[in-house]
């Protein structure tokens, strides 16, 4: 009687600790196939025009430019999906074209470096996790 109870106690302890171990590991390992935090998909026009959607990585750009450069000087609205960016704008030096001119950054001839997204991606911001907010615009 006492022995079987002790046995059950020891087993449940092991089980509890194994579960805790598993939970901790799951909690700290990020999910596979995740977009980098702040990646933006621009696809209001790209796919309709026969190009892959554009993937804009915030992380790469913010190492080099403060937010205010694009969101104040260049006039990009803060809300993903609210900017109408056409190739013509870029060629004429507006939006991305302010830097992507072949001098400061690669020029518009390198279509595939920006137009690199999977078919059918909706415009918006990706890599945001844990909340229902901006990731769902």
């Amino acid at each position: 009687m006492t022995r079987s109870r002790r046995r059950a106690g020891a087993l449940s302890l092991v089980l509890r600790q194994a579960l805790l171990c598993l939970a901790l590991i799951v909690a700290f390992v990020p999910g596979a196939a995740d977009a980098e935090y702040g990646d933006v998909v621009l696809n209001r026009f790209a796919e309709k025009e026969g190009m892959r959607p554009v993937i804009f990585p915030h992380w790469f750009h913010r190492i080099r430019f403060r937010c205010k450069v694009c969101h104040f000087e260049l006039g990009f609205k803060m809300r993903a999906g609210s900017n109408e960016v056409k190739m013509n704008d870029i060629i004429e030096g507006r939006f991305c074209g302010m830097c992507h001119d072949g001098q400061l950054a690669w020029s518009v001839e390198n279509c595939d470096l920006c137009h690199s997204g999977k078919a059918g991606l909706p415009p918006g911001i990706f890599g945001g996790h844990e909340t229902l907010g901006p990731g769902r615009w």
Binding site: I25, F28, E36, R62, R66, C67, V69, F72, G128, P134
Partner: protein, 214 residues
Amino acid sequence: MCKTLSVTKSFLSRQLPALLWLCLIALPVAAQQTWQPIAKDGLRDPGSPAVKLLQPPGEALSQFAPDTAGNQVRWVKALEQGQINPRSSLRTETNVQTYERDMFLNLRGGMPIVRFPHGIHTRWLDCTNCHDNLFRKEAGATKISMFLILQGEQCGVCHGAVAFPLTECGRCHNTKREDALADLEQEAAKSGMALPPKLPTAMVAPERKAEPAK
């Protein structure tokens, strides 16, 4: 039957310390920062030439002050410590503005008070990015709501999208209510006035004597 069980039991009880040690070792290893390569980010078309040419995030981001959330980089720390030196403007004639005053927000709420640093925000952003569209300039004029923030409005326009995510409650709700009130009372006493019995939701925070150690 009974023998098998007792063997299993003794095996497990002998292995228990080992299991616990495994957990302790596995935890920091698992908690290490990891970034997806470009081809596995779920957004890039694996057939696109960009996959082979673009810099993988881990190559750059692993060099900066580490974090457990978002890009797994403490962007403000990276900026303050000079690990990154991003440009503030492209044109020389652009007026780059900063503003240093801290604000106490959420003075009537239940959570710890928010000490909002204008300084850190204006090193990245321009005043017009928030004022007067997301927030009116007068303290307390805009009702700030966690519900809206979680929906991606107000602070949630950036926090949860590009700035540290909304899981990091304590980074904004960073000041004990009694500490904030003591600071405000001290400041009010200096100017010979008393704090109103019903506080506004937001007030200018008195300047800090010294920056707390980070």
